[in-house]
Symmetry: C2
Subunit: 635 residues, 2 copies
């Protein structure tokens, strides 16, 4: 049976898929990421597309009404093309892609700290050496002479070389008159000699990649390994989003759909390769110029990226296949890099505390700190680490991707045009906001959503339970298709010509996200019998944007009511940690030591977490005594 | 231009070669090893073949007479087929192949010592382990659990695994109910996990190969790595012999003929694969059952086998590309073994003291001995090591392949039918001999040649200079095509129906070989200012046969005149060393340490060696005082 061709509009992208593959799979193949939130189960209803011509067979109707169905609307995840079809993909079914801001330095309430300096000794580097030419009385072999010289220069034995190199080594050394640049990769305690080239040649770079593979978003930095400078940055949505919002739905898709694991691997590989292509184009480089790649991601993301079976991550007792994956060649993963480049995935701790968190521990410095410190990564999953130089304890609460702009009707990443700060004036009649880059608003990102939740409550638009107060006068509060909603920006103000609004469902989503974070913190502290006030430093990572309004985050009851000076926002610490490891063999080794030190706390054991979660589903909390500083503002 | 087809008779083997390739290359391709001794230069005249039909173009005539040329005789190395040709290859132009004797235990004057026992811990092994199943409170990842368990069992960290393994690990462990056999390879200080299989499966082997890659002959043992037992042995001529007798002519062929290096690599690979096929057939096994290969060979052989440029081995200051080659996958070399099997080449010392000698040092035990000891490997090259537990010093003298039965008209390897001991009665009228296996004689091997030289001298057939005494009465001394020759066995006694004889040229060949050995020993001792008598133990390796008549070796002036009890014959110590390393990671590491300890003495520096060599071109020597025990027999 031949493949079926699908033409996507308005993009005019055409792809051919295997018989039996869905329109959702076809869209992913075409590079169009649909907003599948349910793992392609036909439940979330977010992957709506309109069939313009051709025949599709449906394995279900989903939330499509009979009138819509008559007009050709289907759920892409339930529709299989039967012949050549043309499909229209509306804007609202897409995860929009924007280029991440290269400049992250604007002032804000709580801006990101800069990464600590480390001595530059990257996982891949070039070392210029001059070998003593051999004589009858110094007749060491060429390879032995090379490795001896490298050792004199402080490179780490044992050395390792492929046969392509060894085979030409005698000629190369003599043609270069014994002055060569040696390309070295640090791999598992050994040094691989990847190349020996004349020192006189044109030696640009080498370059490396730091990649943060988030469940929702993927970000990458192109780094000059000779100087340690980041020369380009890019970010986008993870194309896996088409197959589910969170790690659990991805694992289900991987394990219960035929070819699912391969499809997820392809999706993330293409996401990363897309970013790499963008970065290389920016700097006029080729994939071969990328000589090392460090990836940070949660355990599920890393498994899927490496093509490793994630089944048991989801099943009690929640066991990953591997926490510390050995380095693997870029060629084996199909990455757009030098085929021999090693890809290093930062070591993780457990099924729900991955290498991205190890990165955060390193970047925040809590593993070396004296005061009791808390690290929070509020991404799709919501992980946290409590501890200091003596001990480290971590847990994960399923916070959901709300603060990454996903799962929220008008949510978006913290890129140009995202509302990053917002204030709703009393009564909800007026809204003041600021967007990233000062552009016309396109949507709202994490930091904006925290502001919004606090502000809607303070303005009296929503009650302590997060429900819209009925019968309000403001025209911004209106009846939508699924209940009340609040309009932040009218059609004429926005960059898209469509309104930006939050629904009741969006607000419940945010409430659950913030409650999960607070419940996690409380549970971790309860484990060591300490109160909230014992925490002397809090480091917050996540994709909120360029800054985070801590006062608002406390006001909604997401963060503990501590003096503001205890808080530091460290931005995307996963990406920063990946870069630090890329630039320092010592940091890479340290990451492994850190991962081994962390004790994992499984929140599903016992009732504590669930009780804390239920109590936190209020603004700020059922127990107001936990938020003494909010006393004055309380209603 | 299409390839040319060549049919070889009487073998009836047909091959197609590229335009421009010679009949010698065609024969090698067909598996017929011709006796090219000059490196396919048309000089030695040994690769004579007769063109029966078809047209060849000749780049020279060589030693072919006009009459012979008229009858179709050509030198195969100078003849290029121009269309389909049929070629007859006479027996005398071939290196005959025989199966090596499996039994080496017959008594003899000086029989080989058995290999010292070592604790069994092979470079590849299977380890049965039971993992503690994970629980919520013991949530270590699968791979971490596996490596932790292996470490508890004494396996060496760091561990390493390929992604094929990691990808299926979760399923395999659970299906096997956590009881698995783990396949482990020791590679450069780390342990590679090559396989994880249910412990309940059918677990034959694993098997490994020990290979001695000699310039003239190649020998291999198939070893059961679970028990340490050798289960099959085989040996043959190195097919590279078609391209030259010794390492120098091979290097010249490799570097000066287009495609020469590749042709030599192919020839030795096919030689080894032929042996492996034979061994596997004997035991009903497949290449995939071979999980580790250890090769010992001189530096040139190892370079050519690994496909590494040997150019600078031959050019002053004689520098190898690599003395300690990193392990390489069997697949990369095209070896008939499991594609992931590592191939380990024993570490060498210098361009002319290779891994075979390191093996000999280990097998003889001289590196750990208190008394001053001498190790001699009298193969094609003639290497020797002097020293003890304090110091080790080595050199190489080009002894030539005479004692391996090559370069001698009726010479052969020490296989069934070879004359291994011989006595010529006074006057040269009668000859008594013994053959390997008691078969009718086919030729004469190294130990027989030493006996013969001593005996011909003692019988008065040759003089002190090794020249035939003229005008003898014995019908065994006769005029041949190139001067006088001596018949050992008449047509009717032999297994081939052809006479077995030695020519004047053969004897000069043997004289040079024995002189080179003695000169080497003297030069090495002179380096440390010691007399011959200072040597307390002598270990002799080489392909002489199953034993060596030391008294005769002293009588011809090859070995120093020391009490016989100081001598031990250790047979093929290169092959034994390869097997020891295969069976013991500790020995493999020790070999590297030994190779590093040895000081190489370059004989071409200074005149000493050449002077010693000239003085030793007599029977036994110009200076008879060096051989006091021969006083009574002296003429
Ligand atoms: S309904 Fe299609 S992905 Fe959820
Ligand atoms: Mg993240
Ligand atoms: Mg040898």
């Amino acid at each position: 049976m031949p493949g079926k061709t699908v033409l996507f509009l308005p993009d005019k992208l055409s792809v051919t898929v295997e018989p039996g593959q869905t329109l959702l799979q076809a869209a992913t193949k075409a590079g169009i990421t649909l907003r599948g939130a349910c793992g392609a189960k036909g439940v979330c209803g977010r992957c709506r597309v309109q069939v313009k011509s051709g025949r599709v067979s449906l394995s279900g109707q989903g939330r499509i009404t009979p009138e819509e169905a008559a007009a050709g609307w289907v759920l892409a995840c339930l529709a299989v093309p039967e012949d050549e079809v043309t499909v229209y993909v509306p804007e609202e079914s897409r995860l929009t892609e924007h280029r991440v801001l290269l400049e992250e330095r604007e002032s804000g309430v709580l801006t990101a700290i800069e990464t600590a300096e480390t001595s530059l000794r990257p996982l891949f580097g070039r070392r210029l050496v001059t070998l003593a030419p051999p004589t009858l009385s110094d007749n060491t072999d060429d390879y032995g002479r090379l490795t001896w010289t490298l050792q004199q220069h402080g490179e780490r034995a044992p050395f390792w070389a492929g046969y392509a190199l060894l085979r030409s080594l005698p000629r190369v050394l003599r043609e270069a008159n014994w002055q060569v640049a040696v390309e070295l990769a640090a791999v598992e305690g050994a040094t691989e000699i990847q190349g020996v080239i004349p020192a006189s040649g044109d030696l640009k770079g080498p370059f490396g990649l730091a990649v943060d593979i988030g469940t929702t978003t993927v970000a990458a930095e192109l780094v000059d390994l000779a100087t340690g400078n980041v020369v380009a940055t890019a970010g986008t949505y993870n194309r896996q989003a088409a197959f589910g919002d969170d790690v659990i739905s991805r694992i289900i898709y991987a394990t219960e759909t035929a070819g699912g694991q391969a499809a997820l691997r392809e999706a993330v590989t293409e996401t990363v390769n897309g970013l790499v292509g963008e970065l290389l184009r920016l700097r006029g480089l080729n994939p071969e110029d990328v000589r090392a790649v460090v990836c940070a991601g949660n355990t599920t993301m890393v498994h899927l990226f490496l093509g490793i079976d994630p089944t048991y991550i989801r099943l009690e007792p929640y066991i990953p296949a591997v926490n510390m994956p050995p380095p693997v060649r870029a060629a084996e993963l199909g990455l757009a890099a030098h085929p021999e480049a090693w890809v290093y995935c930062l070591p993780g701790v457990a099924s729900y505390v991955g290498g991205d968190i190890t990165a955060g521990i390193k970047v925040s410095g809590i593993a070396a700190a004296e005061p009791l410190s808390l690290f929070l990564d509020i991404g799709t999953n919501g992980e946290m680490v409590l501890g200091n130089q003596e001990w480290l304890m971590a847990c994960a609460c399923s916070a959901g991707p709300a603060f990454e702009g996903s799962g929220i009707t008008c949510g978006m990443r913290a890129v140009s045009g995202a509302i990053e700060a917002v204030r709703v004036l009393p009564g909800g009649f007026e809204v003041i906001y600021r967007t990233v880059g000062g552009e016309k608003p396109l949507g709202i990102c994490g930091s904006g959503l925290i502001d919004l939740l606090a502000s809607l409550h303070q303005a009296g638009v929503i009650d302590r339970g997060g429900r819209f107060v009925p019968d309000q006068e403001s025209p911004r509060v209106r009846e939508g298709s699924e209940g009340l909603e609040f309009v932040l920006a009218w059609e004429n103000e926005t960059g898209t010509g469509r309104e930006i609004f939050v629904t009741q469902a969006d607000i419940q989503n945010l409430m659950r996200a913030k409650a999960a974070v607070f419940a996690g913190i409380r549970t971790l502290l309860a484990n060591v019998g300490l109160p909230l006030e014992a925490v002397e430093k809090v480091f917050i990572a996540g994709g909120f944007g360029r800054f985070l309004n801590i006062r608002d985050a406390i006001a909604i009851g997401m963060l503990p009511d501590l003096p503001l000076e205890r808080y530091t926002y460290i931005g995307n610490s996963s990406l920063k940690g990946a870069r630090l490891a890329l630039l320092s063999q010592a940091v890479w080794e340290e990451m492994k030591a850190i991962a081994r030190r962390v004790t994992y706390v499984e929140l599903s054991v016992g009732n504590r977490f669930m009780e804390e979660f239920m109590s936190a589903l209020f603004l700020p909390h059922t127990d107001l005594s936990l938020f003494p500083s909010l006393g004055k503002e309380r209603d």
